[in-house]
């Protein structure tokens, strides 16, 4: 039988993590005009911070000698598996700490980064941030403390002690969705506030905003603190979900995936970003079905998966350059939805 529930949990987990990145990117790029091609830098930093805290700290508190059994060795992994199933309070406590630390450290990193980065002019900020992501990846590759190129393993999922995969997955999904909701609410509040209007004015013409007395660098720094912090949290969620990290997980392509999400959904609205994340993560999950054409095609059918993704991206953007959020639905669907909403309210 097809496990629809399991499928939905796994897909929505990915969706929630990527949607956090997409919503923050829409606040940075679509709304505030900070072209961030270095999203993966903050995502990766958060993931590594989460990995370090949830392994080293957990082992150290539990009395394991992390020098003899670091978390990137089999001994460390075995110890972590035992601890994570036997000591729920400790696992949850350390996980909560890792979320907080990730938010603060990546947030501060983003805040501090704005000052040198902003010097290069708005057109070049994107690529400069991309370089930051690559530099960080280069650093992870060469840090033995985090397993170097081999990465780290055994990062405990905080609900693994529940013992039932479906239940622990569901709890983790709820947690991720809660953080996504928090990110959305914060973004929405900012958009509705005077700060939101200032941000839009900065996006449309930062020099004009500057001339009108707005402290553009400072405002951008504040926004960048917030969005970087949430991206870091998404990274920690990802690390604990996958239970392993390695430098190859945080390549620039991840950033571009998130960009594709916000542009396809509609970059000027967090809802658009969520729609983009929803669609792209689902397409990635659905398309493996193509592989069942194995017997009929003279080449690997799964090669068609990225071709379809590319086609969808291209066609959607030619048809709806402002994103799907600007889509006008067929009349009958619109009236049906309006009817439903009216009934519900």
């Amino acid at each position: 039988m097809i496990d629809i529930t399991g499928f939905l949990i796994n897909w929505l987990e990915y969706f929630a993590i990527y949607a956090i990145l997409a919503v923050t990117l829409s606040l940075e790029s679509g709304i505030s005009g900070i072209t961030n091609f270095g999203k993966v830098a903050f995502f990766g930093l958060g993931a590594y911070l989460g990995a370090i805290i949830n392994t080293y700290l957990l082992l150290a508190i539990s009395g394991v000698d992390v020098v003899k059994a670091p978390p990137y060795t089999a001994e460390g992994v075995i110890a972590l598996i035992e601890i994570s199933t036997l000591n729920p309070a400790l696992v949850l406590g350390v996980f909560t700490l890792s979320i907080l630390v990730s938010f603060i450290v990546t947030g501060v990193f983003g805040y501090l980064l704005t000052y040198p980065i902003i010097r290069v002019g708005s057109g070049f900020v994107g690529f400069t941030l991309l370089c930051v992501g690559e530099v960080l990846r280069g650093i992870y590759v060469n840090m033995e403390f985090v397993g170097g190129t081999n990465g780290m393993l055994g990062i405990p999922q905080p609900f693994i002690w529940l013992g039932i995969p479906m239940l622990s997955g569901l709890c983790y999904l709820l947690l991720s969705v809660t953080i996504l909701a928090l990110t959305y609410i914060v973004t929405d509040r900012i958009l509705g506030s005077p700060l939101g209007r200032t941000l839009r004015s900065i996006r449309d013409d930062d020099i004009a905003a500057l001339c009108l007395g707005k402290d553009v660098p400072k405002i951008k720094s504040k926004i960048f603190f917030l969005t970087s912090g949430f991206s870091g949290v998404a990274g920690t969620l990802y690390a604990c979900y996958v239970s392993s990290v390695n430098p190859q997980m945080f390549v620039t392509l991840v950033t571009f995936n998130v960009w594709a999400m916000i542009i396809i959904g509609g970059s000027e609205s967090p809802i658009g970003a969520i729609i983009g994340a929803l669609i792209l993560t689902l397409i990635e999950r659905i398309l493996p079905l193509i592989a069942s054409l194995n017997e009929y095609l003279p080449f690997t059918p799964d090669y068609l998966r990225p071709v379809f993704i590319g086609l969808i991206m291209t066609i959607v953007l030619i048809k709806y350059p402002r994103g799907l959020i600007s889509m006008k639905p067929p009349k009958f669907i619109k009236s049906a939805v309006e009817e439903l909403i009216r009934e519900a309210s």
Binding site: I2, L8, T149, L153, S168, S243, N246, M249, D302, K334
Partner: protein, 417 residues
Amino acid sequence: MPPIAGKRLLALIFATLVIGLIIGYSTGYYVGGLGTPQTGGVSERTYTLGVTFALSGAVSSVCVQWEPVVRMAIDDLNNLAKSMGLNIVFKPHILDDGGTADGALKNVQTLYATGVRIVIGPALSSQVKAVKAFSDSNKLIIIAPCSNSPALAIRGDYIFRTQPSALGESKALAALAVQEGLKSVVSFHLNDEFCNVFAQSFKKFFEESGGTVLYDLVYQSGQADYGSDVASLASWVAKLNPDAVFYCGYATDGANVLTHAADEPTLRGVRWLTVEGFYGASEVLTHKVVDFARAVKMIGIRPVPITNPLYDEFVEKLKKYGAAPTLCSENVYDAVMIAGLAVLRAGGSSDPDVLRRALIEAAKTYYGPGGWGLFDENGDRLQASFRLWTMAFVNGTYQYVDIGHITDSNIVIEKKL
């Protein structure tokens, strides 16, 4: 008509997608035969084995050669089931993970959701690490054909590996180096778990045998070219004057490195030792590289037992599927066969614990192209004998040729280099 509000659109899209998802999967289930086990016809059952390989990306050159191996193994399994009078048909569901950890996890999750309970792959240790938590918590059996990371040698989990541990192979290669009179070596390898493990264990055993690894030069994967790394290697060889270079890399980077090395007079003046990383790769077999291999008396090692007619049969049969053996291809075949035999032994059961036990038992009695299937307590294959190989011009073509073997106590080089 004004655009509809974002929140309503989101609700609409979400509802459409979920309905589409259910319809799509149901269609896929019936059309593609993805479910496992599944009843078809009167009493025939289809059992799908999941496969996730890096069919694109940095190691795709190796992994695309595994696809025909999987088809061959599936055909053999089906013939076996037929000959036993069993009404079970095996089918592969092959997905491309691009060599990424994220891709492997998504594929494994998707395969699991479609009812697959045994997955062959992923290829790289970093990918196996990414799927381990999912595999363990959902009791999904993973048979990794080419992972050798010591960090994954964990007792009682659901990860099995048909690639023998690098320790035995490195020890044998160190013994070979000593027998060949090599006292000092410069190590040059890809910064990847597969090669790092080989380099570290070779250093350990070689130094225990009285040799010295003078310098360990590591190059990073994912680059377009490695010419400057070869230049650095030449500098170290010129400075330290070692007896040999120990090299580990895969097909694509291997072809690049060896093509550049062939132009370096300094590097032509020392012996080269290697493992199976680029064995079988056709892009390496150029006049320049084969000539270089002859000049440096290159010897490689690979974990295939010497007295195994099944391997030679495997190579011959594989030609009919339009492929040649490459790195780990015999392990891929064995992985599929052991998985299939486990399913037969378990009577087509989908119970993960029954399947796991059946897998361990099936492996105990399985002997394939890669040797005994027997797993150790960590689910890793045991192997004690190895073949030695080089590249040469034979019968008018450039080929990989076996030149000797290593067993527990013997190192035999049958052909002169």
